[in-house]
Amino acid sequence: MADQEITFTLNGEAVAAKKGEPVLEAALRRGLHIPHFCYHSYLSVVGQCRACLVDVLDAGNGKPVPKLQPACATPAIQGMVISTVSPRVKEAQEGVFEFLLKNHPLDCPVCDQGGECPLQDQTMAYAKAVSRTHELRRIYPRKELSAYVKPEMNRCVHCTRCIRFTHEIDGGGEFGWASRGDRTEVGIFEDLPLTSIVSGNVIDICPVGALTDNKYRFTARVWEMAHAEGPCTLCSVGCRQRVWRAGDELKRVTAGENPAVNDAWICDVGRYGWSGVHAGERILRPLIRREGRLQPASWPEALGHIARRLGAILRESGGGAVAGLGGAWATNESAFQFGAFFREVLGSNSVDCRVHPRDLAQTEAQLAAFGAVGGQGSIAGLGRAKGILLVGSDPFEEHPILALQVRKAARGGAAVVSVHPRRIDLRLHSGLRHLCPLPGEEARALRALAKALAEAGAAPSGEGAEGYAHALASADLDALCREADIDPREAREAARALRPEGAEVVVLAGPGAQAEAAAEAANLALLLRAELLFASTGPNLQGALDMGLHPALLPGGRPLGDAAAREACQGAWGGPVGAAPGLSSAQVWDALNERRVRALYLFGCDPAAEHPEGARVRRALEAAEFVVLHASHANASLDYAEVVLPAPTLYEEEGSVTNLERRVQRLRRAVKPLGEAREPWRAFAELSRAMEAPMRAHALDRVRLQARLLCADYAGPLSRLPEEGVRLARERRGAFRAAALPPAAPPAGGLRLILAPALWLSGSFAASAVHLKDMPRAALRLSPPDADRIGAGEGDEAEVELGGRSLRLPVRVDASLPVGLAQAPEGYLAALRGGLDAGAARGGAAVKVRAAAAAPRVKVGG
């Protein structure tokens, strides 16, 4: 029994622990402090620093342990009696601290760690007050690590937390140690720079000032700052983080702990993305377009203008002539209010948070299979799974913390199968199998995998099982594999590895899983009885959908056709709700061109830049009679807006957000809204007043009250949220959909380009964050043979020609790509927007690439 509860005695106090857990862990949880440096709950135990030595007076068998034992490596046993205050423990502690300080420079006033330094704090608590060292302190040669991590290795106490982090968690293994004795040096290998997207965690775990934050360096001291703890809002994972501010300025972000989501790690995008809050691109006051130019205006003016224009359109064409897009970058409360504003005040159901076609495809696939979106899987489940199927997902680039969870599972022996055109890198030595179909043929590869699973004995059961079983029975594995360009042997091996029976399997669908692939992912999840996670890009897409930002769904995910649901809404809002579904984000563009929709309200989204069918979207935006942009940052859609309203970022708002596993977490305001930005839920209430149809919800608690009434499972979370949030899980039951696969595309010659989102390059927020500029630059990735063929090396510029437009991008030679496939970051190809349509984007668009300019060569050595 691993989880058996036992008790032991520490300094006379009873401490509850799980059997076998480190004594130190149990003591810290109980609030009894034992000094320690090398121990970290989420890293392996090495027992090196020797600061946690304790006296085991009774090892649970009535006998004392003769030597002092490290509490971090001493498993808790029932009836143990431990002392941390006995004279010999005191003496050992004083000795250890003396040794630790023997070579540690006393430059605390200069050091950024000063004030939050475990060495400083524990020295004050446990060490002798006098120094007896007369020797010169150790000095290492100065080295740089990266743009984010500033080393001062003279302060290092060799706890090896950074080494263990990069080897165990991150997998890059950048840190290591050299030399012996008191010359032991922790550092990175010179030919292996610290470029990992989660490298910033070494700053948090370093117990001294040896690794500090280069971007935060000397900008503030910890005692001047206040922090807000809550979920990160830059992607849909929702890692717990601490946002620190001094005065009205954000200073830094550090990792928070949430064992259900991110353990104690955050990615560097989350760590440095806050710099977008203070970016020059922020919209700080309302703007109204006058004489062709956007000019500053007051809130009443702007709201009055919108009310007048919308009022006229409503009178002339009715509510159906107004459509709203966005909400995935807002709190649940603001998203709820956005939907309520449309349905109640404007009488329009055309409100949709899924601006990107990918989000639309994935959510519709889930609705088809499960009747609801999300709640079928958990992030913690990913971390402890025995089998993982990744569909169109490259987690290190898209959701880095999910990558760490996949790695955690793999280290625990999980088999990981990736279905992605590229051989994605999870920094695993073993356990990762690749099925690399042609781009656009992911669904076929998944069907082949399902067939192989059926051959291995997996039988679909439940709703739609018969049809699916029939589809699998009639499928030909070899033909499917041939068309998808995968090896049937590998498909069979992957199926065996996923172990259809008994093992816990998680299917993680990433941005590459679109349309048919998303539907097949759902089928596979049902076939494997697996948990299913869809990793969307919008941080609160899940919450926005739950709040009813869907043309056919009301808050709580209840269908519009349900009269009782409509009545409930009417009861809460006061106005009637139309039964006819509105326009989805896919239908809005044609409707705008055809003048069926005259006004468009863009709430925290930027279709002009981020929609893959850019040309069509821009035409539609131009055709729109009246466009409102309600956003925090100036973006490409600004050009089409008549009125612009400033919104705060999620760092400036109170509320709640829901992550991809449907965990509702409380968001705390980290800094007051910049400029004249005001909370969107308030703005909608004020706008409704300006339109002389005031909404009932004019305060946050009223918004929450309505949301609680209408969204049944949010009733609890919105009234009381525990620190780690509440995961609103759904029953894992759905229906197989045995849709026929589209005909296989004829083999395409030449180079095909696929687009994939990179977290640090997607969205206007990330683009405006100055601290993210040091992340890897946007690049065109080419396989080594393709790079050779066009004669471009790493870092050279290549000219990419696509649909009559061209763009220059630096080349990155990437052996994970098959020959004939190129990859570029999505959302960055703004200049190429005209050339891509959705089909091509999915199957890879034909591009011409040629070398444009060689990178400046830096002479090495000499």
Binding site: P105, D107, P109, V110, F218, T219, R221, E224
Partner: protein, 159 residues
């Protein structure tokens, strides 16, 4: 009654024999006692580098929050202070200051001291906001009386 008058006169007489305590300021000036806490000075090391490393402990110690410090990184080629850090901004609001001397107590490098100077009247409130250039001495040797302000043995000399 007479006795009381005599006692009063005696007291007057006694005081007339005592030495005068009035100082004819500004013609005459008293020497300030050791430990007098007057206008702040920011000191330098002997090589001319600023002592202050911008650690902000003074501002943390200040009970009335009258010290504002911003720190920055030294240019290794032309350092301002020893070590990596220096105070790019150092301001004291002398109107708000209560001359408690906690800043001096907190300073690990003996940079900020309260000097003997008490004559710093101004005709405008804004002028009491002393910036770094107003506080920084040109040469510490010019102020021998300030040396007694800090215990040299307790300074951090690591830098």
């Amino acid at each position: 009654m007479l006795a009381e008058i005599a006692r009063g006169l005696w007291l007057t007489l006694k005081h007339s024999w005592r030495s005068r305590v009035t100082v004819q300021y500004p013609d005459e000036r008293e020497e300030m006692p050791k430990g007098y806490r007057g206008l702040h000075k920011l000191l330098r090391w002997e090589d001319g580098l600023e002592r202050c490393v911008g650690c902000k402990l003074c501002s943390a110690a200040c009970p009335v929050d009258c010290i504002f410090v911003e720190s920055a990184e030294n240019d290794p080629a032309r350092p301002t202070s020893k070590g990596e850090r220096y105070a790019s901004v150092y301001e004291i609001n002398e109107l708000r200051c209560i001359f408690c001397g906690y800043c001096e107590e907190a300073c690990p490098v003996g940079a900020i001291v309260l000097g003997n100077e008490y004559e710093f009247c101004q005709d405008h409130r804004d002028k009491f906001l002393y910036a770094k250039r107003d506080l920084l001495v040109r040469r510490t040797e010019d102020y021998p009386e300030l040396k007694a302000r800090y215990d040299e043995k307790r300074l951090l000399t690591y830098v």
